[in-house]
């Protein structure tokens, strides 16, 4: 049977399913389900990191291997800098652009280096919106509490307080740059309610929030003539004799030469790790999301936080192949869309939390009640035509135009046919530990955005990452610039590598892996 024939069961069972109510799991069942099926609880997928600042702490095998990996750089490399700058920003997404603009505005000489093009990042793909407490019935304190609950109470309180309090002024800055947030009739900002939030707090630009913000920030970086180094991947940091960060070494991806940049302070804004495909998961992430910043900071001695927890979005597309891993918005489920297995049965309350829904989808597929596509992937149905049946014809088209268009490109009308979904690796909850100025325990090394950790606790609330980027991008930029103004350039050495290598040797590290990964290995070798 092909996939279109298999879809028929969704149509055949729709009316019967509409009469059903599926209760939410009891706390005990919920725990059991998650422990058995949620990827974060797969003991076999984890192992302790053998050495370095997080020695003996567990993380996923893929990341542990890269963190223990060796540098491309030899001890004897000529470290004469090709460029000298005050503030070096590594990463051209939301956090990197915000950091560069603020450092530049504060008077520092700034260089922005990025692995791909300026702007290429997860930020540009953010659709849901940006959480900022602007509604009269809302407050920064409520935003704090909601986020804390979302993060299972593990969030760093200081970071979180800073983020929620500086949110409104960030919105003002973006508006002054020309970002077109959706408005109410009275001119005030329109806010939507996001999952896990007690108040409507999501600022949106249609369903292109990240794209709109990034278009503007990128344009502004160009307007300010900030020095750019594109298609250059950071492969090592530089340190002086005291272990303070003094610059970075890049690999120019066009000519494969190394580029040395001397800087007074370095801001890493390299994003997340979706493209490591941990535990074999597809991902909603950008091509370059390979966790480079984590490896670089770790070798330098920076401590990581919460790197054993990742966010899997329950509904990533499984079919057509072109859309694999891309998000199918949660809105479909909130408007009543059913999740249906190969037997035509519902198996979870669709509005349960993300971890519960993801776990039950994985359970269905592992127990053989999934649907396999022509390319060998497995998923369950999301009954999208149900929305038209429930709320009247045209509902899907009216409420989810971007998604309609995305599937229409492949000849699929989601208002008539259900879509196939499976959890997709979406976000790295943890990262490099930072203080409220975005600085790590390595002096003059700052980390901002998804590469940093602590703020989101063990689970990120929808819409908080766009704000995280802007607030800590700004703080890192301002602190790095003011620091740079009062200091001179440090020595350029790779002494930290010698320490790291000695440590690796002691622990018998013979993995032969070099890190960072730079780009995922999708190119077919045979």
């Amino acid at each position: 049977m092909d996939i279109h024939a298999l879809q028929q069961i969704v149509h055949q069972t729709r009316d019967a399913r509409r009469k059903q109510t599926i209760p939410k799991f009891s706390p005990a069942d919920r725990d059991q389900l998650i422990h058995k099926y949620h990827p974060d609880y797969r003991a076999s997928a984890y192992r302790p990191i053998r050495f370095g600042p997080n020695a003996d702490e567990k993380t996923v095998v893929e990341l542990a291997t890269l963190l223990e990996g060796d540098s491309l750089i030899t001890d004897e490399m000529d470290l004469t800098p090709q460029y000298t700058t005050d503030v070096l920003v590594i990463g051209g997404g939301g956090a990197g652009c915000a950091a560069a603009l603020h450092a530049h505005h504060a008077g520092a000489k700034v260089m922005l280096a990025t692995k791909l093009r300026l702007g290429d990042s997860n930020s540009v793909m953010a659709q849901g919106g940006m959480q900022i407490s602007v509604a009269p019935e809302d407050s920064p304190v409520t935003h704090f509490i909601d986020t804390l609950k979302g993060g299972h109470m593990h969030n760093d309180h200081d970071l979180l307080k800073v983020m929620v309090e500086e949110g409104p002024s960030i919105a003002k800055w973006l508006i002054e740059l020309g970002v077109l947030f959706d408005r109410q009739a009275d001119g005030n900002l329109h806010v939507k309610k996001g999952g896990g939030s007690s108040k409507p707090r999501l600022l949106t630009c249609s369903d292109y929030t990240g794209l709109e913000i990034m278009r503007v920030l990128k344009d502004e970086v160009l307007n300010q003539k900030i020095q750019l180094l594109e298609f250059c991947a950071a492969v090592e940091l530089l340190s002086d004799e005291h272990g303070q960060c003094t610059g970075a070494i890049f690999k120019d991806l066009d000519n494969h030469r190394f580029v040395v940049v001397a800087a007074k302070s370095v801001i890493l804004a390299t994003g997340g790790i979706g493209r490591l495909h941990i535990q074999g998961f597809p991902t909603s992430n950008h091509y370059g999301a390979t966790g480079d910043g984590l490896c670089l900071s770790y070798r330098m001695g920076a401590k990581l936080a919460h790197i054993d927890t990742f966010q899997y979005h329950p509904s990533g597309a499984v079919y057509p192949e072109q859309l694999v891993g891309q998000l199918v918005t949660e809105g479909i489920r909130s408007e009543g869309g059913h999740l249906v297995n190969a037997k035509g049965e519902r198996f979870v309350n669709e509005l349960d939390t993300r971890d519960v829904v993801s776990s039950s989808i994985i359970r269905e597929c592992e127990e053989g009640r999934g649907i396999r596509t022509m390319s060998g992937r497995v998923g369950v149905w999301l009954d999208t035509p149900l929305l038209d049946a429930e709320h009247g014809p045209g509902t899907v088209e009216k409420h989810f135009p971007a998604m309609m268009m995305q599937f229409e490109r492949f000849g699929i009308d989601i208002s008539k046919d259900p879509v196939l979904i499976y959890p997709t690796l979406h976000y790295q909850n943890g990262g490099v530990k930072i203080d409220t100025n975005s600085e790590t325990n390595v002096k003059n090394l700052f980390v901002a955005g998804e590469a940093s950790g602590g703020l989101h606790g063990r689970n990120r609330l929808m819409g908080n990452s766009l704000l995280d980027l802007m607030v800590f991008g700004k703080r890192s930029g301002l602190t790095a610039a003011s620091r740079a103004a009062s200091m001179s350039h440090g020595k350029l050495t790779v002494q930290h590598l010698q320490r790291f290598r000695a440590d690796a040797k002691k622990h018998g590290n013979v993995s032969g892996v070099t890190s960072p990964m730079i780009l995922p290995a999708y190119t077919r070798k045979t």
Binding site: V134, K172, R372, Y522
Partner: protein, 236 residues
């Protein structure tokens, strides 16, 4: 748990995909039918650095020219969003050297008039519509350029909300306009200069600056872990 095979459809396509013949930058290859243009590049052993970005149709990095079998018409697509078919020929478009004007959006005296200083070629549109045909996001680009010139900045900003800045409208313009850059300027001007200031936002910023929440913070941050968890549970 072992997979129960009753519902698994192990079709021949899974085991042996149907191969199609395509041409990449003038060279012929056989690749599985239905994979994306970008995946076809990987399949043929090519490293992709330029021409890959978000892989989700948002960033415009993979602007591509393609032609289908026996059709003389050259079309445009995003390589991450287009499936290959038999006889297809394609090449990824290198970044086009369009001129971007630089400006300080807040310092402009009259943004509608300044459009003609920053992008003097904008009013020279000859109505050929090639830009609209080239747009993979189905934006009516030509209409947008006309509206920009006539000062209807609001419409332009709405029309171009889903512009991914792939730049495919630029090389086809016979008047040398870079419509995406014109639209970006216009949208920024609309947002920064012609959109009402949100009063509620300013009020919230003032409240925070004046310490309206200080007492609440003090109370909250002094709580023990248990007290904080209990307090959080009361907020629904």
């Amino acid at each position: 748990m072992a997979q129960d095979n009753t519902n698994v459809i192990d079709q021949p396509e899974v085991m042996q995909p149907r191969m199609v013949s395509i041409e990449i930058s003038g060279k012929k290859y056989d690749v599985p039918e239905g994979i994306t243009v970008i995946k076809a590049l990987w399949y043929t052993g090519q490293e992709v650095v330029r021409g890959a970005g978000c892989l989700g149709g948002f960033c415009g990095a993979c602007a591509t020219y393609y032609r289908t079998k026996d059709d003389p018409k050259v079309r445009t697509c995003l390589a991450c969003q287009m499936a290959v078919e038999d006889g297809m020929s394609f090449t990824i478009m290198p970044p086009f050297p369009a001129r971007k004007a630089t400006y300080d959006i807040q310092a402009l005296k009259d943004p509608k008039q300044d459009l003609f200083n920053l992008y003097p070629e904008a009013p020279l549109c000859r109505n050929c519509n090639a830009c609209t045909e080239a747009c993979p996001q189905k934006i009516d680009v030509r209409e947008g350029v006309w509206k920009a010139v006539f000062g209807d900045f609001k419409s332009v900003s709405e029309m171009f909300m889903d512009c991914v800045m792939c730049g495919m409208c630029t090389p086809v313009c016979i008047a040398d306009i870079a419509p995406n850059l014109v639209a970006l300027y216009v949208s920024r001007a609309q947002g920064a200069r012609f959109t009402e200031k949100p009063v509620g936002l300013d009020a919230r910023i003032k409240e925070i600056q004046e310490g309206r929440y200080n007492d609440e913070w003090k109370k909250l941050l002094k709580m023990s872990e248990k007290e904080l968890a209990d307090h959080c549970a009361t907020v629904k």
